[in-house]
């Protein structure tokens, strides 16, 4: 019994991986500082307020991370126009027949855990699968909600024009109360998403053994040999035979 032959394929380019990990850091920092801002811990201190700025620092970290999160997101959107086919915005286009048949497949096999009678390797997505695509689209919208509500809350105390661009968001919801609530709920969506996302990455890595986890570090995934074009295969075989001659 032998394993199937796999080929190493470059899937996640460096900007995509940088985006991913910067995003991870930002979400962690933003959530932690966000929790602190929403419900600050009791600080036992005898210092005068003049000599303390601890909560101001927490807020500064939150705002700084928010800017990084925002510009990181913009760079990712830019990369979806110049990056490879796995990073392209086309990969995230949800309204194609292929997307929906793959969606049904993933739902059946990976979410509801049915077994397929005949294994079709074509159903294994090389980049994102369709369920993942939809979850990232949803998360993108939630990220936009966070950005819009966050900058809206920040706008009144900001000196820069950029956060002020979002000042119109607050009146839409009648005031800061609702905006703050939405901002807080959006953070919870990120946390819940992260739980599922991390688990599913482990799940796919464990079941399919294609380097799902490590792909976000090195950028490589492993794809079955017979999915590559014949010509490429022949070329490779020739190269191999020459090498070992």
């Amino acid at each position: 019994m032998e394993t199937r032959n796999f080929k190493r394929v470059f899937v996640w380019e460096l900007p995509v991986r940088i985006f991913h990990w910067v995003n991870v850091l930002c979400v962690i920092v933003l959530s932690l500082s966000g929790f602190l801002i929403a419900n600050p811990p009791a600080l036992i201190s005898s210092a005068e307020a003049t000599n303390l700025h601890s909560f101001g620092i927490v807020r500064f970290i939150h705002f700084a991370a928010a800017y990084i999160f925002f510009f990181n997101m913009i760079l990712r959107v830019y990369w979806s126009f110049v990056g490879n086919k796995f990073a392209s915005w086309r990969a995230f286009w949800p309204f194609s027949k292929k997307t929906w048949s793959n969606f049904k497949h993933v739902l059946k096999i990976d979410v509801l855990l049915f077994n397929e009678k005949v294994h079709d390797e074509k159903n294994i997505s090389i980049g994102h699968n369709s369920v993942a695509i939809l979850s990232y689209l949803l998360l993108f919208i939630v990220a936009l909600v966070s950005v819009f509500t966050g900058f809206a809350l920040y706008a009144d105390t900001a000196n820069w024009w950029l956060p002020k661009l979002f000042a119109w968001v607050t009146p839409l919801f009648g005031g800061d109360f609702m905006v703050r609530s939405i901002h807080h709920i959006a953070m919870w969506v990120f946390i819940l998403f992260t739980l599922v996302h991390v688990y599913l990455v482990f799940y796919h890595d464990w079941l399919e053994g294609r380097g799902e986890v490590s792909s976000m570090f090195g950028g490589y995934k492993f794809v079955q040999e017979d999915r590559l074009r014949k010509a490429a295969k022949a070329e490779e075989a020739e190269e191999k035979s020459n090498k070992y001659k």
Binding site: P40, L43, N51, G56, D176, F177, S181, I185, L195, G209
Partner: protein
């Protein structure tokens, strides 16, 4: 447009007739300039304008309200405000303070509305019930809606006093049995100044109305129709306890040492960080104090739905559509728990359902292991 030309007293003439000196008048103008956030060179303009402008008739309607706005207004820090603007000189109709009553009062109002059509200012205190054909609030045999629409039709501008007229306030809180509605949702074709607060600060009210009468135009409004001069900043951002917030020094309860030290009331539910008002700068009772200075958190009375925005003494993030007791964190924690449980179940289920695939994978990989060419 006025149908007859008649000599109306200017504000200055009215003030002098009331027995105030010119010195009082100038002090009053200075106060007003300060409240409106104008620079000192504008004092002259206000004084000049009050000297030349004939008084503008004001109709002040009361609907579903508690009259706290009127109370606040007549206590604003310069007596001229109450005497001249509100008292017999300018105010042509107000249920609380006018001398006339019954048919006479209604007739007087009708006369003003006809005579000064398109000129008078309509001040509205209170929300208007739209439920059950508006029967929950009737004055002189007419529903509030009917009276309001009639008065609004000929008004030059409308001022919505207080949270009732601006946002609906307590009577519009869920379940809003009378269908209480703020006025900007009823009349759309008139300039409306919203002056929320329960009540609004007297000086703010004076500032708004003086701006309209002295300059003949509306003050600069924000997107929610509130005067920017008074509602441009959060209470939090103008609060004298703000340094404690930035230092992370908070009162944990109302009777702890931190509270006695005058630390920030953020953790005991102060709504200052979400509330736009002038309490931190103009303050209350002639600048004596304001809630936070007196040791109580802001309750956010000038914000929309302030009765439905969650408890006054807790910092919670209410989730729309959920029960009052649940906040975003509770729901989030429960959801996270459910998801972690679901993940565990899924992992177990996958191990069972995919056992063949997994064992095949392992077998293949093990055979490779054996065949490693060391």
């Amino acid at each position: 447009m006025p149908t007859e030309i008649e000599k109306r007293d200017t504000y200055y003439e009215s003030i002098i007739k009331q027995g105030y000196s010119r010195r009082d008048f100038l002090k009053f103008s200075t106060y007003m300039a300060a409240f409106m956030g104008l620079e000192s060179t504008m004092v002259g303009q206000i004084a000049e304008s009050l000297e030349k402008t004939p008084r503008i008739p004001i109709i002040w309607e009361h609907y579903q309200e508690c009259t706290c706005c009127s109370e606040s207004f007549i206590r604003s820090n310069h007596p001229i405000v109450a005497d001249i603007i509100l008292d017999k000189i300018s105010l042509d109709y107000t249920l609380t303070l006018m001398a006339a009553s019954g048919h006479q009062a209604e007739a007087a109002k009708k006369a003003v509305m006809d005579k000064y059509k398109g000129e008078y200012i309509l001040c509205v205190e209170g929300s208007i019930p739209l439920g059950d054909d508006g029967n929950y609030c009737c004055i002189a045999g007419k529903s509030a809606k009917e009276t309001f629409l009639e008065a609004a039709a000929g008004a030059k501008a409308i001022i919505a006093w207080g949270s009732c007229a601006s946002n609906g306030c307590v009577q519009a809180a869920k379940p809003n049995p009378t269908g209480a509605t703020p006025i900007h949702k009823i009349v759309k074709n008139k300039p409306i100044i919203r002056v929320p607060g329960c009540p609004p600060i007297g000086e703010v009210m004076a500032g708004v109305i003086m701006h309209v009468v002295a300059f003949g135009r509306l003050p600069q409004l924000d997107r929610l129709g509130r005067p920017k001069a008074f509602y441009g900043k959060r209470v939090h951002d103008t609060c004298y306890r703000r340094p404690y917030y930035d230092a992370g020094l908070f009162a944990e309860t109302f009777d702890d040492q931190n509270s006695k030290n005058g630390y920030c009331l953020y953790k005991v539910g102060c709504k200052g960080p979400m509330t736009y008002n002038s309490c931190g700068t103009i303050k209350w009772n002639n600048g004596v104090s304001y809630p936070i200075q007196s040791g109580h958190g802001c309750i956010g009375c000038s914000e929309e739905n302030f009765w439905d925005n969650g408890p006054f003494y807790e910092r919670t993030t209410k989730i729309p559509g959920f029960a009052v007791e649940s906040n975003a964190d509770t729901v989030g924690k429960v959801a996270a728990g459910v998801i972690v449980g679901g993940i565990a179940l899924h992992a177990v289920g996958a191990t069972i359902s995919k056992r063949k695939e997994l064992s095949d994978n392992i077998k293949r990989a093990k055979s490779n292991e054996k065949n490693i060419d060391l």
